[in-house]
Symmetry: C2
Subunit: 300 residues, 2 copies
């Protein structure tokens, strides 16, 4: 089934101990879409400036991503400049220019308003809610968020939590959201806020999935060459949602598999700068890594 | 088969956000022995002072741990006093008194010198090597170490690595030992130092096992109430070695199972202060948690 994603498109300048990439294609919805299109048809709602080049659009459309929902506004595209620490586990934002993304009012094209799978990439809870206001008959909706909204838009975020099926956050965010330091406690507490599914991303340590029926954990794919962690979380979400949207049903077994596919797409992302490695991946590579990941996980 | 452990016995004073325990039974070999005795016959080589009370000996012997190798010397038992940070992931050592442990020269009783399974708990590489010098026909020997020895006794540690089958370290230690920041690279690099098995402990994030045939990862058991992390690593090693010593052979499949049993014994330890919770565990509880852990791990 089709999958709609709403979020940012950006030019990223990324510095890591392995090098620097200037003005490469980035943004949460971009990473998500490129990961998700490996599994299903993706509809992208975003905004760019008049400086957004044709070859970036082509990269997306060549992969079958429908960009009819990407609005081009006068002005510049969102820009982000960040630098990673030596161990790649922390990063510093050196510059942010919101530009046309600053007053992003997502407009879902009329023919996409009944798309059954929806991913609300990181954005203000009000913006995310405005997308749901435009949709009818959503089957499965998952949202991402960040510390900024947990701190400053808590009420809006809590209201959103009651309207979504799943919430994807990282470990520090779920602790901040719930006030619990133990991640298992935090995940269970987050379920009480509304979503029937809470996924906690832990970077190199893998992820947790919490539901009212079961909890589970999955280690990360054993990547040896992390060149650039940017977009790992968004491409994790893209692999997860893309695989699930392509399944007959949103069952617990399929969710576990989707978690592994998300882990694989994230592993591809971090092995190149920006979307470079992810965009070169095909389904065969993804399936091979999925099998390797199953072998790597030490369950009986 | 029998399992010999050589390491410290201590009085620990532990402060965590959940409370304080004063002068409780601790030490690496104690945690190890109490975990391992759930699976196999354990022989303990250690040293205590004349202040070491009968009820601590009884706690060990009641559980079938053979303490014939615990030497009592004039003076005081090793004392450690530590305080954990709010998130329990870091700790500060407030006081250390090595006392009788300061010049620990392990003497393996004559009848234990052919014990097939050996665990060298954290200690100087020279002390650990002196144990191997006393043994004949060791089948499977694993050693623990720490940052102190990696920094100051590197040559001795590297020499020891060529004499052991397995090395158990935590994530920061394996990075320090190998100079690699990526844990997968670090684990592979550590294998080149000699051991055919390298286990990397990551606390709440679980563990990795590296061998020349396969690598694997296991998440931690989803414990919600961490009262005191002290001894988690040693009881992990105890569960791992204890289970393995009780197996027909040291196969890859048994190593994976042993990893899960180590994970379970560590989870019991952290749910109480000192050895309190671990010492109350029986094999039935351990086996139930083992099954729960298998369910929790999201492999296909």
């Amino acid at each position: 089934m089709s999958l709609l994603v709403v979020g940012s498109t950006a030019f990223d300048t990324i510095e890591t101990p392995h090098g620097t990439a200037v003005d490469c294609l980035g943004g949460s919805s971009t990473y998500f879409a490129i990961a998700a299109q490996l599994f299903t048809k993706v509809q992208l709602v975003s905004v760019v400036g008049s400086d957004f080049p044709e070859h970036h659009r082509k990269l997306l459309t060549d992969r079958g991503v429908d960009i009819a929902g990407v609005e081009t506004k006068p002005g510049k595209t969102f820009r982000w400049h960040g630098r990673y620490a030596t161990d790649m586990n922390s990063r510093q934002t050196l510059d942010v220019q919101l530009n046309t993304f600053g007053d992003f009012k997502p407009k879902v094209p009329a023919e996409w308003r009944t798309t059954p799978f929806v991913f609300l990439a990181n954005g203000s809870p009000a913006t995310q809610a405005s997308v749901l206001d435009q949709m009818h008959g959503v089957k499965f909706c998952v949202a991402d968020t960040m510390d900024l909204w947990i701190e400053h838009e808590k009420q809006g975020l809590l209201a959103l939590c009651k309207r979504i099926d799943g919430l994807i956050v990282n470990d520090s965010e779920v602790k901040m959201l719930t006030g619990k330091n133990n991640l298992i406690q935090a995940g269970r507490e987050a379920l009480k806020l509304g979503p029937r599914l809470v996924i906690v991303k832990k970077g190199e340590h893998g992820c947790f999935l919490f539901s009212n029926f079961f909890h589970c954990a999955l280690p990360a794919y054993p990547t040896e060459t992390v060149l650039d962690p940017t977009g790992a979380g968004d491409s994790f979400a893209g692999g997860f949602m893309g695989y699930l949207a392509n399944c007959e049903q949103v069952s617990l077994a399929n969710m576990k598999r989707a978690l592994a596919y998300g882990t694989v797409t994230a592993s591809l992302t971090v092995e190149g700068f920006g979307v470079d490695r992810l965009a070169r991946a095909d389904r065969e590579t993804v399936d091979r890594r999925y099998q390797e990941l199953q072998q790597f996980v030490a369950g009986a």
